[in-house]
């Protein structure tokens, strides 16, 4: 399926459920990792105009930490974690004793490595749940990370998915640790060519 605009409501609901199951597992992994209670916003599966994505994150120039991983397997896709500055700093201070970072632009090698590992764990947990559901192994690539403008990351991630259509399918969810305002946005973008197989595997072709 190269054209995501033909997805039906039932198929989108099923994909939202995919987001639910994946991010539920990722949320428990994060909760264990941080030893705190993590709440999850209700995931969405939406067909979006690519040019509207940066607005969801507070505009294209908003500074965020981005962790990008490829989904490898019979069903392939892209996984993008966007972590606002405040949350990134909080995570680093929680995970690295004595960490005094005040601007993610100045991360040390240890700090970068720690954030990539957060990405690795979250993507791994998400895809693990999805592999079980779809009965096909889905693995994540090594994570790549940057701290920059949200718009710049999104154009790099979605550009070649938009050759045919101006729209992309995005499964999105956020984690919130209510008391401390910890926020992580997860985006899963199935490759258009694997979408039919994913729908088959979850039984909504």
């Amino acid at each position: 399926m190269e054209d995501v605009t033909t997805l039906t409501k039932i198929q989108l609901d099923a994909l939202r459920e995919v987001g639910n199951i994946g991010s539920g597992n990722a949320a428990s992994a994060l909760a264990q990792f941080l030893n705190r209670k993590i709440d999850m916003a209700v995931p969405s599966a939406t067909i979006l105009e690519f040019k509207d994505i940066p607005a969801l994150l507070g505009g294209p120039a908003t500074q965020v930490m981005g962790i990008f991983l490829k989904v490898l397997g019979e069903i392939s896709g892209r996984f993008l974690l966007l972590i606002p500055e405040k949350t990134a700093i909080k995570l680093l201070k929680t995970l690295i004793p004595g960490c005094e970072i005040d601007n993610p632009l100045n991360m040390s090698e240890l700090e970068s490595s720690c954030m990539r590992e957060v990405g690795n764990i979250l993507a791994g947990a998400f895809l693990n749940a999805l592999s079980t559901l779809a009965q096909t192994p889905m693995l994540n690539s090594l994570p790549s990370m940057t701290y920059d403008m949200a718009g710049a990351m999104i154009d790099s991630v979605v550009a070649d998915m938009t050759a045919v259509s101006d729209k992309v399918l995005m499964i999105e969810t956020s984690f919130i640790e209510s008391e401390e305002d910890l926020r992580i946005h997860i985006f899963l973008l199935p490759e258009p060519k694997s979408l039919t197989l994913l729908l088959q595997k979850i039984g909504v072709v």
Binding site: G59, P60, G66, K70, D148, A152, D155, S156, A159
Partner: protein, 162 residues
């Protein structure tokens, strides 16, 4: 402050002095500005991909691809009063590789876009008078039609003019 007109991904816009065209959060995309120094008319194409070949013509958005967006940008600008091809010059910005390559992947779209944009500009005969491309950082620009200058911002760096 003059009117600032934002140009999103896959969009193409033309404006004239004293307006300003702006693009925020440029990653692997390449921004091409064409400017007529005499009439102070200019335009921007926010290009996402290098090549439109193989794409169904009926569904093609020409503004997305280097090979089709640059002719489209020229057509849009020359429709304005007082524009002459000989007065036009180009500036190009963007084409970075935001996510460093890992063992499993490498993203060459930024590089491919830059190469394709240069080729398309050469084909049309527009000189590139300024360029800031490649690298690993995102960029934002404001293209001031009054002066023809492009103000370039990169996170953690001083603002520069091209």
């Amino acid at each position: 402050m003059s009117v600032v007109i934002p140009v999103g991904m896959g969009e193409l816009k033309v404006a004239r002095s004293p307006e300003t065209l702006a693009v925020y959060g440029i990653g692997s995309c390449v921004i091409v500005s064409l400017y007529d120094t005499k009439s102070r008319v200019g335009g921007i194409a926010h290009i996402m991909l290098p090549d439109s070949s193989g794409i169904d013509k009926e569904r093609l958005n020409p503004n997305k691809f280097a090979d089709t967006a640059i002719p489209a940008l020229y057509n849009a600008i020359k429709a304005e009063d007082g524009v002459f091809k000989a007065n036009l010059h180009a500036k190009i910005v963007g084409g970075s590789e935001m996510f460093p390559p890992t063992e499993d992947f490498e993203n060459t779209i930024g590089r491919d876009n830059t190469v394709a944009v240069k080729k398309a500009l050469k084909k049309m005969g527009f000189p590139i008078v300024a360029e800031d491309t490649g690298g690993k950082r995102g960029r934002s620009i404001e293209f001031d039609l009054e002066t023809g200058l492009v103000r370039l911002s990169i996170l953690g760096e001083e603002m520069r003019e091209l």
